[in-house]
């Protein structure tokens, strides 16, 4: 297999679009025999790759996505159960095992068929191509806000509807009646004319012998019974009594603990190591050096520097041991790089414009500027960001006799399994992979570097090992949202109309459409230059959308101000061709009471960003008290097409906003002498309760294709806030984090 990146995959011929790929194993044929041994429990019958029915008529939905707290297990079960006409009280969920047969493949299918009606005859060919691609790419990815959009729409609903059809067919045959006369309700098959009723369980075995259709008739919105309803999440009760099992909670008989330090300068190696003091600490069992490792992942291949690990009877001893090590590192020529150097390099590369690539070029930008009455120039800059998932990275591995069993909470179980197999020199079938709950993912847990370390350590010491990274290691060995610079020029007519929009930024990842604006501007010239550094890149909640959400929605605000127009109306006037965007923007202004004046020292800021198929507008309302910014409330409106689990969407928007505000206000990873300077929450802070605003979220169900919810809340947050600060203070902040330029009110620490 050659080098696959997310981008390469996206540009591989048939596939186009944005976002991470995920999918669902809805492949032609009946594969129940192959899958049953992995998923069938006592009294359960696997009727479809994703559906089990047991003797008590309980339906279990097998969900091919990881639960990061986005409520995906519940939302996907709602989609499946609705099409199946299942009794919600008898629906359970479980996560699909990380085996190749569950490699998800409506992946490409979702992209390929997006909004297009292919003749049925073509579909098997598409299916075949997609199946091959997903097999070879090990797709079981949770990310890109794709679970509901793709797996739900192209997978879970199809599975539910196809299974309902098979159950009806089985009943029709047994009862000697026409399939058309059979209706279904709450997991019961009903033939009214003969007053016959039977639970699904009765025909589960017969249906399991049939071949499911992958183009069954799906319900129309008006017939939804579960989709769109608020259903309490399955995963919540165990999360309030300490019983929920995260990866860190795995206990394997005989296991020992380990913690690690990787070369602080990315890509570095060990020059010398004195571990005598560490080995003298009671409880320390071993000190192990792990080599430079790399993984060739579809999402983010990487090479990581050398690692020194301390293995001990407990984490505390391992941690003390690590601190007692005396290590000299070889920095491989990167030991002098600083954030300032990288920022200067960005500026130079933009100014040189060498190899500038275009994202969009319309109209004649030179003419637009020549005809303009006002030219507006602005430079925006942002720093590196770490993810700081609440649960520090950890993995438990048990390597013995050429087999490895591993327990991790990650966003890509199959990709991880392959990476672990590769680094151990095993094939994938020799690795048994258990995916557990994740204490946050945000993109970080799509890179398997730490899981590979745990596997290597277990092999080295011949025992099961639980590897736990310190928070310090987590902050310093992340895959960072890149630092960036974005340079704008706008040309405005005498009456403020935007004639030309020019934008050059550094470092494009994805989605491709992230820097584009929805506004009607005739001449647009948007492009980028790549300006790489040695700092590893990572997908960070909403990837490029988060940075462009800040850049473009701040600069359009500047244009409105320069035009002497209201920032909301200015945007609205340029959205005639985008009624969905306009509706979202209007609703946000209305809910926020945009036209009601605020007193002195207060301000509102608005921002609008489409990402991952959903459109979100936010209004930030702030006060300045004692020269400090207080965020009073955030109003958000999302059009996700259709919200399958409305409270889940609301929670995701709340979460996305706090994640975005945290980064906007405080988030800054700096590089000095080639290494990250920050280390923990004291110098890489998170928003806490006192500073956290009241959030009001409103949903517009427009009925368009479903969009994501996990990420689209983040991109508009920083610009809504920065625009509000401008409104309140007249200070235009073009550099993040904002607290470098203005003080924010915070509570005291309890």
């Amino acid at each position: 297999m050659g080098k696959w990146t997310r981008r390469a995959f996206l540009s591989a011929g048939v596939l186009a679009g944005g976002g991470i790929l995920v999918g669902v194993a809805l492949r032609p044929g009946n594969r129940n025999d192959a899958l049953a041994p992995f998923v069938e429990g006592d009294g359960q019958k696997l009727v479809h790759a994703y559906i089990k029915i047991d003797q008590d008529n309980v339906v279990t939905a097998i969900i091919p996505h990881s639960e990061m707290g986005q409520g995906v297990h519940t939302a996907l079960a709602q989609m499946l159960a609705d099409e199946l006409d299942a009794d919600w009280n008898l629906v359970r969920v479980e996560e699909a095992p990380a085996i190749g047969d569950y490699s998800l493949y409506s992946v490409g299918r979702g992209f390929l068929l997006q909004g297009i009606d292919f003749p049925d005859i073509v579909i098997p060919t598409i299916e075949g191509v997609m199946m091959m691609l997903s097999d070879s790419l090990d797709l079981q990815v949770t990310g890109g806000s794709m679970s509901v959009r793709v797996t739900g729409t192209y997978g879970m609903r199809v599975a539910g509807a196809a299974t309902r059809d098979m159950l009806k067919r089985a009943a029709a045959k047994a009862w000697g009646v026409s399939e058309k006369e059979i209706t279904t309700e709450k997991s019961m098959l009903i033939h009214t004319a003969t007053s016959r009723r039977a639970p699904y369980a009765e025909f589960a075995a017969a249906a399991a012998e049939m071949t499911p259709s992958y183009t069954p008739k799906l319900k129309e919105i008006k017939d939804y019974k579960l989709m769109g309803q608020h259903k309490p999440r399955f995963d919540i009760p165990a999360k309030v009594d300490g019983s929920a099992k995260f990866a860190l909670d795995v206990r394997v008989p005989g296991m020992v603990y380990a913690t690690v330090k990787r070369a602080p300068v990315f890509g570095g190696t060990v020059k010398s190591l004195d571990d005598r003091a560490a080995r003298a600490i009671e409880g320390v069992l071993d000190v192990v050096t792990l080599p430079v490792t790399s993984a060739d992942m579809m999402i983010g291949g990487f090479t990581a520097g050398e690692v020194v690990a301390v293995v001990a009877e407990g984490y505390w001893a391992a941690q003390r041991g690590l601190r007692a090590l005396d290590i000299q590192w070889d920095n491989k020529g990167n030991g002098a790089v600083s954030s300032a150097d990288i920022a200067a390099q960005h500026q130079r590369d933009i100014e040189a414009g060498a190899d500038r690539k275009s994202d969009r070029s319309t109209g004649n930008i030179e003419d637009a500027f020549a005809n303009a009455d006002t030219i507006l120039d602005a430079d925006y800059t942002i720093p590196y960001l770490a993810h700081t998932c609440m649960e520090p990275l950890n993995a438990t591995a048990d390597y013995r006799d050429g087999q490895c069993e591993i327990w991790v909470g990650c966003q890509n179980p199959l990709g991880f399994r392959r990476a672990v197999a590769d680094v151990l020199g095993l094939n994938e079938e020799q690795v048994t992979f258990h995916n557990l709950l994740m204490g946050g993912g945000f993109g970080r847990k799509s890179r398997p570097d730490w899981a590979m370390q745990a596997a290597l350590l277990s092999k080295a010491v011949g025992k099961p090992v639980q590897l736990i990274w310190s928070r310090e290691e987590d902050v310093r060995q992340d895959f960072y949202r890149p630092a960036s610079r974005s340079v704008f020029r706008a040309g405005l007519s005498q009456d403020g109309e935007l004639l030309g929009w020019q934008n050059t930024y550094v470092n494009k990842q994805e989605p491709a459409e992230a820097p584009l604006i929805p506004y009607a501007v005739e001449a647009q010239d948007i492009g980028y230059v790549q300006s790489p550094s040695h700092v590893p890149w990572g997908a960070w909640r909403s990837v490029d959308e988060s940075m462009h959400g800040f850049f473009t929605e701040s600069f359009i605000d500047e244009c409105a101000v320069a035009a002497g127009k209201d920032p909301y109306e200015y945007r609205a006037n340029m959205l005639k061709a985008h009624p969905r965007h306009l509706a979202v923007l209007n609703r946000a202004a209305e809910e926020a009471g945009w036209s009601a004046p605020l007193g002195l020292g207060r301000g509102r800021g608005i921002a609008l960003k489409e990402s991952f198929g959903s459109i979100v507008a936010q209004v930030a309302e702030i006060s300045i008290m004692n020269e400090q910014v207080v965020i009073d409330r955030m109003v958000a409106v999302i059009d996700p097409g259709f919200a399958v689990a409305p409270d889940g969407v609301v929670a995701q928007i709340e979460s996305g906003i706090i994640y975005g505000l945290t980064a906007a206000i405080y988030g800054e990873i700096t590089i000095e002498d080639g290494a990250v300077q920050q280390s923990n929450f004291h110098d890489y802070p998170a928003l806490r309760m006192t500073a956290s605003p009241v959030i009001e979220t409103h949903i517009i169900n427009s009925g368009y294709a479903p969009g994501g919810a996990g990420e689209p809340g983040t991109p508009p947050a920083a610009s809504a806030l920065a625009n509000a600060i401008y409104a309140a203070t007249g200070k235009r902040l073009r550099d993040l984090p904002l607290n470098k330029h203005i003080a924010f009110a915070e509570g005291g620490r309890a």
Binding site: G69, P232, D235, Q319, M390, E391, I468, I658
Partner: protein, 169 residues
């Protein structure tokens, strides 16, 4: 070195280095994994437990001087009752947890707050919860759930009820 610890009303004898923080003893020796590790330096609150009813960050609390103290973890929050603590019920009603990883700590901080202040104001809540980070950003829901729980709190705490039952029984 052996130490006696009383956790959720049960006596345990553990053999650990006295500098070991309570967090790791709970998780590794006593297999009470509901208490989480988030930062190790008293910055995030994920490891919060109650000692004598007061919220404490167990990641920086050496076991050395905890002998004879009453330690309560998330596993013991509801007491020996089958019914969840009012805070746990409010957490479910408000659908508070996302990833859920911070929530043991949030609940223990909230429980300690309601113990000393059964009718907290918004400012009281903010102050008491300021040490608990939620990277999923569920602060708004946590605030509301604490208010709901405060209203629902019985006259007596579950611990007191157990004591009462024991007396009667």
């Amino acid at each position: 070195m052996t130490k006696k610890l009383r956790v959720n009303g049960v006596e345990h004898t553990v053999d650990v280095d006295p500098s070991t923080p309570l967090l790791w003893v709970l998780r590794e020796q006593l297999e009470l994994t509901g208490t989480k590790f988030g930062c190790g330096i008293a910055q995030c609150g994920a490891c919060t437990v109650m000692i004598e009813g007061v919220a404490v960050r167990s990641c920086i609390m050496p076991v050395a001087n905890l002998e004879g103290r009453d330690i309560t973890t998330i596993e013991g929050l509801a007491g020996n009752t089958q019914t969840p603590h009012p805070l746990q019920q409010a957490w479910i009603d408000h659908q508070v947890p996302q990833c859920g990883y911070c929530q043991s700590g949030q609940l223990m901080s909230a429980a300690a707050l309601l113990k000393r202040n059964p009718q907290p104001t918004d400012a009281d809540i903010n102050n008491a919860m300021e040490g608990n980070i939620c990277r999923c950003g569920m602060y708004d829901r946590i605030r509301e759930a604490i208010k709901t729980a405060a209203e629902a709190m019985p006259e007596t705490t579950p611990e007191q009820e157990i004591a009462k039952e024991a007396d009667n029984g």
